[in-house]
């Protein structure tokens, strides 16, 4: 696997067939990637993406779940990129402009849902204000995943450790 820092503001990880792009500043810790495929996306490992951890198909499926542009992907063979369909939401062709919202946009607040996952984190979605260590951050149409097992190395966020530690609750 090759790790390349040339992709502006992020990193890219390639297998023979495809490349995954990682834009850390776009990540909102929704944690779909490591909850779905920790064999490839493991925040506790360096490098955190291991393209040999699973199949190309599974990696694409997982990257498409990312609710932001933190993770995107493309085929290494440019000819294949021309035939990408719309369900591949996180293919580089579909980087979604609405995710970089312009200021002054007035929208009704999205309902907030806090889900307590089975033996896993608290996943909060919608429009809400987060206060962490005195710092206030406003989240719009976002998802955040908070550790519930106490074992995360990335507090207060979930890093998938509940699975390794066998957390029940």
């Amino acid at each position: 696997m090759e790790r390349d820092k040339s992709f502006s503001g992020g990193r890219k990880y390639s297998s023979d067939e495809m490349t995954v792009y990682w834009k850390p500043e776009a990540c909102i810790h929704a944690s779909y990637c490591y909850r779905e495929l920790i064999e490839v996306f493991d925040p506790g490992r360096r490098p955190w993406v291991d393209m040999k951890g699973s199949t190309t198909e599974k990696i694409i499926e997982t990257v498409n779940m990312c609710p932001t542009e933190a993770l995107t992907w493309k085929w290494n063979d440019e000819a294949r990129n021309a035939n990408i369909t719309a369900e591949n939401t996180n293919h580089v062709r579909f980087r979604r402009p609405e995710l970089s919202r312009s200021e002054g946009l007035v929208a009704e607040e999205k309902p907030v849902i806090a889900k307590v996952m089975v033996d896993g984190p608290i996943v909060i979605s919608g429009d809400f204000t987060v206060i962490n260590d005195g710092a206030t951050k406003v989240i719009s149409e976002g998802i955040m995943s908070f550790c519930r097992c106490g074992e995360s190395g990335h507090q207060p966020f979930c890093d998938g450790m509940h699975r390794k530690k066998g957390f029940i609750g």
Binding site: A26, I28, T68, L99, R101, E103, L105, E109, P111, V112, I113, A114, K115, V116, M117, V118, D119, I122, I124, G126, D127, F128, T129, V130, I131, N132, D133, T136, K137, V138, I139, S140, E141, G142, M144, F146, C147, R148, C149, G150, E151, P156, F167, G169
Partner: protein
């Protein structure tokens, strides 16, 4: 993702204590199959509470 104006629902991480959620939100406990609109809730973050998903003060005895 960020806007300047505060939202009406607030999620607060309390030091080495629980996660406080207050405002207008739905709490879906998938594990215990319960859905409520508590208005205010303190959820355990240390994994030690015997009243999960709620905080029972066990983090203080770690």
């Amino acid at each position: 993702m960020e806007e300047k104006e505060k939202k009406t629902t607030t999620v607060e991480i309390i030091g080495s204590g629980p996660l406080k959620i207050s405002g207008n939100f739905i709490l879906k406990d998938i594990q215990r199959k319960q859905e409520t609109r508590p208005g205010e809730v303190w959820l355990c973050r240390c994994g030690k509470s015997s009243n999960k998903p709620f905080c029972d003060g066990s983090h203080k005895n770690r």
